[in-house]
């Protein structure tokens, strides 16, 4: 009897650890960096980490929602670049308060096209987003003429100042916007009906449809959110730095995919969360900054990011493998048999 009790506790501990894995990882990496990495706990360093996190993290919000729906959006990085370039080009004519919403709306429009092609034309999202990715690549270079678009007007300075001034120490306006977005979407996903529909659609599309959910609309909605968030991340980043390079969102895909997976969202859909993804982005960013602070090069950074992703994927796949082996069997019976085997 006591034996059984311990076993249950162990399982509960394991499942608890699995659920809050990303927070544990975050705490461990933060502690390691804080203790060993030189100049890690400085205001400047922490703010830099938060700023980069705000770029990739905002993009990751939308990606996570698309992935919860069981789809894939590879065009996010390019949407971020495109919207950033668009916002920079429009700002001289329209000013800050008009150009930003317009550029974000453009991102939403691209998301809508993605969503319509996936949900209504029933083309695989992997293919659709490779297509839009190629199209956007061309568009970015066409509208920008192949150069980095930068601004140096009075108004641009004002906008940049507004976005980068800390509201409270460590938290510039852009980071605050990011945090609000994360908390907002997390609440939406967990507590509201539309949010729950994302999970249900991702879990099993046919069942969701039979239960009366308009799955097409849910999918389109997910892609629109993804486009909007990618655009918002890119635009705000460009506005703060007053320049949109044509490779702004190039690394985002790698970042965002890694973070979403490490954060516990699964590719088949129906599981995951925005908050966890955001924490994962922050964790990865700390890890990368730590690598730089230790004086190691870019190659180590790439290697580590791959290794972390590989370990997490392998761990999850192995857990699934073990789980599938038990399906159709009776675990209690097997445990009892094993116990008997140990005894005699």
């Amino acid at each position: 009897m006591t034996m059984r009790r311990i076993e249950i506790d162990k399982n509960r501990l394991l499942s608890w650890g699995d659920r809050y894995r990303i927070y544990l990882l975050f705490a461990v990496i933060f502690l390691i960096m804080a203790i060993f990495a030189p100049r890690f706990l400085t205001i400047f360093n922490l703010t830099t980490i938060l700023r980069t996190t705000a770029l990739h993290g905002t993009i990751a919000i939308g990606f996570t929602i698309v992935m919860i729906c069981g789809q894939l959006d590879l065009s996010i990085g390019r949407i971020a670049t495109f919207s950033a370039v668009l916002a920079m080009l429009l700002q001289p004519q329209l000013g800050f308060w008009l150009s930003v919403p317009l550029a974000v709306a453009a991102g939403a429009g691209i998301g809508l096209i993605n969503g319509l092609l996936v949900a209504k034309a029933k083309i695989h999202s992997f293919i659709v987003t490779i297509g839009t990715m190629t199209i956007l690549q061309g568009l970015v270079f066409t509208i920008s003429g192949g150069n980095t678009v930068s601004l140096a007007s009075q108004e641009a300075f004002a906008a940049s100042d507004f976005l980068s001034n800390p509201v409270i120490p460590l938290l510039p306006v852009r980071v605050v916007i990011f945090i609000l977005l994360v908390l907002g979407f997390d609440f939406l996903l967990k507590k509201s009906r539309p949010g729950r529909n994302f999970y249900l659609t991702g879990g099993n599309r046919t069942t969701a449809w039979l239960a009366g959910i308009k799955t097409d609309r849910v999918l389109i909605g997910a892609f629109v959110i993804s486009g909007t968030m990618a655009a918002a991340g890119g635009v705000l980043f460009a506005m703060e730095t007053m320049a949109a390079t044509l490779y702004l969102g190039e690394n985002s895909l790698m970042y965002v995919v890694s973070a979403t997976i490490i954060g516990g969202t699964i590719m088949s859909g129906g599981k995951g969360g925005v908050l966890k993804t955001a924490v994962a982005v922050l964790t990865l960013e700390m890890l990368y900054t730590g690598v730089v602070l230790f004086g190691l090069g870019n190659e180590v950074k790439i290697f580590i990011s791959g290794l972390v992703l590989a370990v997490v994927v392998l761990y999850e796949a192995y857990a699934m493998y073990k789980h599938e082996k038990i399906i159709g069997q009776r675990p209690e019976l097997i445990r009892e048999l094993e116990r008997k085997k140990e005894k005699g």
């Binding site: 092609l117 083309i123 293919i127 190629t134 199209i135 568009l139 190659e299 392998l314 796949a317």
Partner: protein, 342 residues
Amino acid sequence: MNQNSTVDSRAVQTNIFTSFMGIVGIYAIAALFILLGAVLQMTGVINNFLTSRNFINIIDSVALLGIVASGMAFVTYSGHYADLSAPTTMAFSGIVAVEMLRFGFFPALLGAFAVGIIIGSINGFVIGKFKANPIIWTLAMSYVTMGVIRFIWVNRQIYPGIITDDVRAIMLFDNIYRFRLFGVISMPLILMIILVIIGQFLLTKTPFGIKLKITGSAKRTAKFTGINVSLVIGTAFLLSALAATVAGLAVTSLSRVGAWYIGEGYDFRAVTAIVIGGMTLAGGRGSIVGVMGGTLVIGIMNNIMTLLGIGTFSQDIIRGMIFIMVVGINAKTLRSMGRDDA
């Protein structure tokens, strides 16, 4: 008609036309594009389209892509989307080959293929045995490989001329890309055709091909039929890595430099070629010959756009649109014929 016979409402009436389209498929589109080019030339909009020189150029420009795609097609066929580690496999095998040139030409080839086999086996084992998600796993694998390459060679590029003084080895290595049969047929084209023939043979005439088809169309069924699904999927990934190795050797030989960035962009381009060539991401449908057709269509399309004087960036836009359109039409046709789709 016999009244008692049950009628499956989903059964499709195939006639000569549909079965013809099923076989020819992508080549019809290729012919359409050639026709478009011919019309454009007749009306005097473009010149030099219908010349043998131009067709050789078209094929040469996409032969490398064809090599990568003909291997990756096995992965798509098995229902595992794509092998995103192909570009780094190309880079790694290329750079190892250049480094190994110091021992001679054949050890270099051996080294390159060893790299391909190792990467392919790891991919195949993890995805086949543990059912890891293929896209995410191969992405992770490509970062790890990229990190290893850049760590070992410290972000440097290496040249065959610096590695060794063996002129014969360097010449042989250069000829991996530059050799021309009868002075016309280039080596990448020969390699592509050989790989396509081997691939098509494997896919249609061997037990492995049949197992792969069943695995791709219905994995659970395949498992219950007694097929070693893990092994079949693993082999698909191994074949993909081997084809990537061949392409990596050719690219490295072309640029005469081994570097980490070689092969960039070949992952998504190969997927494009495969999917345009009529393979569906759901798996179990399509053929390697079709994939070669898809590659040719991409080549002809690029060629016409370049001759029309369309800029590189506008070409991207058009290419993306045509890609989505072709795949959309393909999926719609399959659905209207009552077959499931990707």
